[in-house]
Structure formats: structure tokens, C-alpha cells
Symmetry: C2
Subunit: 157 residues, 2 copies
DNA sequence: GACAGACAGTTACATAATAACATATGCCGA
DNA sequence: TCGGCATATGTTATTATGTAACTGTCTGTC
């Protein structure tokens, strides 16, 4: 995931999915929104809003913060992008077609952000909340550490 | 937890524990740090850094941001305070004597932050990370929603 | 008392996000 | 085709959050 893959395909795939989703929902995938989504997908790392702003500025225009934040808000509402709270940064969603709970593995060395889907973990979260009689609306679950590449440990694959 | 309890006792308890811990570790629990810790413990809600700053200012001095952030950094290093990433706010730790993984239930109505300790959830987190061959260093696990009081639901107690 | 190291004060700035208002663009019905 | 509405974007200004770097101060030790 983190190295030596055809990342161009990742981007194309993300954009294609976004187009499809917005088409189906009747929401407008404008040029600006596409541009921001492409930038967020430049790698499998979380991207800062002001870095997006700088990139926009370099592309000629005179971009201001609201431009970026509004695009990000849209992309988040459509589930195309997630915010990483512990980094104040944004990352592309790998399976935007279905609404889901987000869980992230964040490597503090190579900065790769891997989105996780663990039913067991989902269950444990729900169970813990239920025990406290707590009605969950949304969750932030971000695990920091070293990814398999960076920790040097090997296992199955 | 959230209502009608002798909160003065909570504060006293937190300060006493902090004193003991710092004593044992040879770290200095200065007047400023104590003051900030007391402010953080004004309730069972997360407190914003700039609110602490305002309170300090009202108490006469001319406090600047680094004063507050340095105190908070110290308190976090000693495990006396946790940061709630999804709120950019800080909350007192309920059992600072042992290092532990932090998990929080955050009520979006009454703003109470309840620190949780669920071994099952810990296990699930470790398991999920292990599956991905990921070496966890720290985690952010924040569940937003309605606490038992605010959701009106009743269960055991 | 002189020194080292930790703590706190101060100035300035960097980064993150939003409010409020103005302008442009696309769409739909008359 | 034109007006008019809703959505999207531009623009200006400000608020919120956090840090760098330098200065002074305090405390314990020799």
C-alpha cells in the first residue's frame, strides 16, 4: 500500500467513484472540487488545508481559505474525504460508495494513512458505548505508530 | 457522574493525586501548573486553552498563550490531563497513577467527557492493529453522541 | 555568592478555520 | 430567450489554535 504501486490508478479510481456518486446523488462535482480531491489524493498521506491552498495559489489563481474549506466540507459530506483530527489534515476515502465508520492507522514515520475496516473493532466500540448507556453519533479512531514497512516487522505477507 | 455530585471532592482528589505523582517522579508541581490543573478540573467537560488563558488574565496577570500551553504540555506528559483532539480541548485524567490508553465518551449536548476503560475495546484495538502488522504508539479514540442522562434512555442503574 | 538548569514572561508569528458579504454560474420555468 | 432562483465561488476581515525564540527569574548546589 505504501510503496511502489501505480498511484495514478488510485487517483483515477477515486475521481471516477466521486463522479459516479455525485451523479447518482444529484450533487455537483465541480472543477474546483475535483481539483481539490485530486490534490488530496496525491498520496496516501493526510494533506493540510493550507497546503492545498498553496498548491491552488501556484496554479495561478488567488485562492483564499474559504475556497479550500468549502470544497473540503463538500467532499466530507459526500464521504469522499475524511478529516484526521489528530493531524488537522485530510485524506481521501478508499470506499466512498458505502457509508461507514472510519478507523485509521497513521504511520508517524512515512506518514501513510491507512483506512481500516474492522468489524470486530466496530463491535467492541459499540459494546463499550452500550455498556455506558451512551448513544454514539460519530467516532474518531486514529491509531498512531509505525506501519509494517517502517517498523521493519514482517508477518504473513 | 454528570450531575449532582460533590465536585469539590473531584478537584481535591485530582490535585492530591497530582501532588503525589509529581513528588514520586521528582517533577515540579508549581503554583501555575496547579492553577491550570484546577481550572481544567472545574467540571467534567473539556476546557479550551484560550479559556484557561482568559481565566488567568482575569485573575490579574497578563497571561500569554505559551504560559498555558507549557503548563498543559507538562500536565499531559505527566498523564494528568488528556487532549481531546476532536474538540481541541483538554480534560483532567481520572486515574493518572497508571499509564493507560485513553478512550472518551463525549456528550454533544451536556458536553460531559467521560473517560472510559474497556479491556475488551483495548483488545480489539490491539487486534486490529496487529492484523495490519502495525505497531501502535498512541491512539485517539473519541466517541461523540449523547450520554445516558441526555439521551433519556435508562438501562441498569 | 556563583553557577546550572528549570520555569515563566514576552514578543512575534504561524497555522487553522469561519463569518459576512459580493459576484458568478448553472438551471428551470414562463 | 429571458428572468429569477439556488448553488457555487470570490473577497475581505477576523477569530481560534498553537509555536519559535529570546529574556528574565527562581531554586538548589557547590
Amino acid at each position: 500500500m505504501t510503496h511502489s504501486h501505480d498511484h495514478g490508478a488510485c487517483i483515477e479510481d477515486a475521481i471516477a467513484k466521486a463522479e459516479k456518486i455525485c451523479m447518482e446523488r444529484g450533487s455537483r462535482f465541480t472543477k474546483l472540487r475535483r481539483q481539490i480531491l485530486e490534490m488530496v489524493w496525491q498520496g496516501h498521506t493526510a494533506v493540510k488545508a493550507y497546503d492545498l491552498l498553496d498548491q491552488l495559489a501556484k496554479q495561478g489563481g488567488s485562492a483564499k481559505p474559504p475556497t479550500v474549506y468549502r470544497a473540503l466540507d463538500f467532499l466530507m459530506e459526500e464521504g469522499l474525504v475524511h478529516k484526521i483530527e489528530s493531524l488537522n489534515a485530510y485524506v481521501g476515502c478508499i470506499h466512498p460508495e458505502d457509508t461507514h465508520i472510519s478507523q485509521f492507522l497513521i504511520c508517524d514515520k512515512c506518514e501513510t494513512v491507512q483506512e481500516m475496516s474492522s468489524p470486530a473493532l466496530d463491535q467492541a466500540v459499540l459494546g463499550a458505548a452500550d455498556n455506558a448507556n451512551f448513544a454514539i453519533d460519530r467516532q474518531t479512531l486514529e491509531l498512531h505508530g509505525l506501519c509494517s514497512n517502517c517498523s521493519g516487522s514482517k508477518k504473513a505477507a
